[in-house]
């Protein structure tokens, strides 16, 4: 998993400037992978504002993000700069209520429509 410095800097900037960041395949409107689509759906259900970054547009980002989090797959969800998990973990947290608790605990609004 190679990580070039400019891409790592960009990742650090993404996750510090945005409360909730989803690195995914495709975009929130057009997810290109079932796992990415599943997390998009959960975030929309929770009603939290988030930024989606399409790793398919940048092979360096697609590789660097795996090394950055020591996590081999996409999607990857970050909340307030911390790696939260991929599809399985986000789904488990959604079902147990932990995802909403985590967001609220970090002062991030949920239930936001549109």
């Amino acid at each position: 998993m190679s990580m070039d410095a400019p891409t790592v800097d960009r990742i650090r900037r993404d996750i510090s400037e945005n409360d909730v960041v989803l690195y995914m395949k495709g975009t929130p409107v057009f997810p290109q992978c079932g796992f990415s689509a599943a997390v998009v759906q959960l975030l929309d259900q929770v009603g939290v504002k988030y930024v989606g970054f399409d790793v398919l547009l940048d092979p360096n980002l697609r590789e660097a993000i795996k090394g950055f989090s020591n996590w081999p797959t996409l999607p990857q969800l970050y909340i307030k700069g911390d790696f939260v998990g991929g599809c399985d973990i986000v789904r488990e947290m959604f079902q147990s209520g932990e995802l909403v608790d985590l967001l609220k605990g970090k002062g991030i609004a949920v239930g936001v429509k549109g």
Binding site: W71, P72, T73, V84, G85, C87, D88, E92, M93
Partner: protein, 79 residues
């Protein structure tokens, strides 16, 4: 590229010796599996850390040879 369930189970158990492992072949294409792994060594670890332990046991195959592995990790009650 694909893997078979026995190989996945063998690798996980080699990496996490006390693990109880159940593998489900989700699509029969050797590329989409679910793994249920229970181990006392997960105790005190976050879900991310638990999953990273399983990925480490699989020596980089997840996301490569193995397109996707739906993973659920648990700590045995008595642990």
């Amino acid at each position: 590229m694909s893997m078979d369930a026995i190989e996945i189970e063998r690798l996980i158990k080699a990496g996490i010796p006390d693990a109880e492992v159940r593998i489900e072949d989700l699509r029969g294409d050797g590329d989409h599996y679910a793994a249920y792994v229970s181990s006392a060594s997960f105790k005190g670890c976050s879900r991310v850390q638990q999953h990273q332990m399983v990925y480490a046991a699989l020596k980089g195959r997840v996301g490569g040879e193995l397109h996707a592995l739906a993973l659920q990790t648990t700590v045995p009650i008595e642990a």
